[in-house]
């Protein structure tokens, strides 16, 4: 784990007022991210890829709040991503709600689920946690599979295409991929800003302390269990938001979005990019999706390549692409 950008910033901004390049980067991370996201559709080979990077990057950012910063390896985050997507789709498709209400409800539902799953899983001892989160989120998968009148079961949820978005008097043609991208990007940017605030806040220091040494954090006077639950819920909130964006983008919600394979993919993206850093998750999502795109050009078995790369990263590059780059730069 690398020391986070914010703690580095705090150190760098010592009494002499000296701020190194990392601190400057940390201070501008949100505007920088937004700028990069704005440019993404123009820089990447396809707009479809850009939207996916946007959505999965956001999931990874939300996940990273729990994994990279709090140190809890959850294997069940697909439940929140998927619930955000399903609730959004159901609200639009079956209840005819306007898109913004559906998004709000999707986020609320995902966060509430995160709170409940967090409550059940945090009471387990360290290494159990990963198993329990996987199993509990798999429960959600099977419930969705069975509740097919509501969710579409195995075939997924369909029939809730959003064609126009009314935003403060403007009408945006949501079927235009580029316009859709920028609308979704507004939400992602807002979420990134929220995450940045959380990381810079006193609570941000608490979760890092818990990651570093839970026992010591408790002895210092922090209610570790309650803090973990808050981090878990916030993490679920961001992932649920990403889920709502996914639903709006695809106009379908596949059942597999709830399967633990999706949770595993989120873990892989986060690790590939670099857990515990702000830009890492987006780098990881980009790397993962690019790999998938490129490798599937010559084989349909891209998963074996991605899986092998992941194994290599765990063995030799545990800090991920961005994390390793940061550490290397700091070492020079």
């Amino acid at each position: 784990m690398t020391a986070s950008d914010s703690s580095v910033a705090a150190v760098m901004a010592g009494p002499a007022g000296h701020r190194g390049w990392r601190a400057r980067l940390a201070a501008w991370r949100v505007p920088l991210s937004v700028l990069i996201l704005c440019l993404l559709p123009w820089v990447l080979p396809s707009q479809a890829l850009a939207v996916n990077v946007l959505i999965y990057g956001l999931v990874a950012v939300g996940y990273n709040l729990l994994f990279g910063y709090t140190g809890l390896l959850s294997f069940g985050h697909a439940a929140f991503f998927g619930t955000g997507a399903y609730v959004t789709g159901i609200m639009i498709g079956k209840f005819g709600l306007p898109w913004y209400a559906a998004v709000a409800l999707g986020v609320i539902a995902g966060s509430a689920l995160a709170f409940v799953i967090g409550l059940l899983s945090i009471r387990t001892r360290g290494i159990y946690f990963s198993m329990v989160t996987l199993a509990l989120s798999q429960l959600v998968y099977y419930v969705a599979l069975q509740a097919s009148s509501l969710t579409g079961g195995e075939n997924g949820l369909r029939g809730f295409t959003v064609a126009k978005i009314d935003l403060f008097g403007w009408t945006v043609d949501f079927l235009d991929p580029l316009k859709k991208y920028y609308v979704l990007m507004v939400f992602a940017a807002a979420a990134l800003w929220l995450v940045s605030r959380i990381l810079n806040s006193p609570f941000g220091a608490v979760i890092e302390a818990i990651r570093e040494n839970e026992t010591r954090a408790r002895a210092c006077g922090y209610d570790v269990e309650r803090s973990k639950l808050i981090a878990f819920t916030l993490s679920g909130l961001i992932c649920a938001l990403a889920g709502t964006l996914s639903a709006l983008h695809l106009a379908i919600v596949p059942l597999d979005i709830l399967h633990y394979q999706t949770s595993g993919m989120i873990v892989m993206m986060t690790l590939l990019g670099g857990a515990g850093s702000f830009f890492g998750p987006f780098v990881g999502a980009l790397a993962f999706l690019l790999m998938e795109d490129v490798v599937s050009l010559w084989t349909s078995h891209w998963q074996i390549v991605v899986g092998s790369v992941f194994i290599l990263f765990v063995l030799f590059l545990p800090k991920g692409i961005w994390g390793t780059a940061l550490a290397w730069r700091a070492g020079r």
Binding site: P202, G204, E212, C220
Partner: protein, 251 residues
Amino acid sequence: MSVPLLAVENIGRRFGGFVALEGVTASFEPNKVTAIIGPNGAGKSTFFNVLSGVLAPSSGSIRFKGSDITGTPQHRFAHLGIARSYQITNIFPELSVHENVRVAAQAFRSRYDIWRNRAAMTELDDKADAALAAVGLTSRRGTTAKFLAHGQQRALEIAIALVADPELLLLDEPTAGMGPEETKDMVALLERLAAGRTILLVEHKMKMILGLSDRILVLHHGRLIADGSPQHIQTDPEVRRVYLGQNHGYA
């Protein structure tokens, strides 16, 4: 007659069938240094863990400043005014020395605020720097904690406990793993800290304890077998038997 700062009555602690502590009763006046000694397995760590809230006693009670705190969850102890350091260094390895102490100080100001920028809380920087100065780590302020030498990490342990501004400081083998030079530095630090604070420490180094403590408690097989001044303890026949029998002398 003033209320003792800390009073334990008939403390017992079992682990399944194993009795780690039994019938320990003692009270501690403020502003004194008390050492807890005993052979390995005597129950010192368990006693410490009970006093710092890591374990709840199986029987008996703990009173702090007159209030019953038995069974209070561990994370409330720091807020009561009880802070501890650990025998095996327990710091935040990837955070800087300054951050280590700052986050400890933050526990008394803000634990759940997800909005405010914590860099603006400059009073925490001041408190952290003061604690670092007290233990002599100011020059290592920006170093990542895992890169500190062992003795410096032990000092950081103390700084983290200190920044809580505790009335009662529980120190578990503060000189663990230290050579004679480092031990001397630590003893000097402890003497400075003892002014105006109540300190309980577990230690093995007899010479150090005899010089530092106002009072010594001796545990053996989970029971309190002696309680008194250093002079009294040195001449107590029971203590001599336990220590000579165990071939225990200077650590």
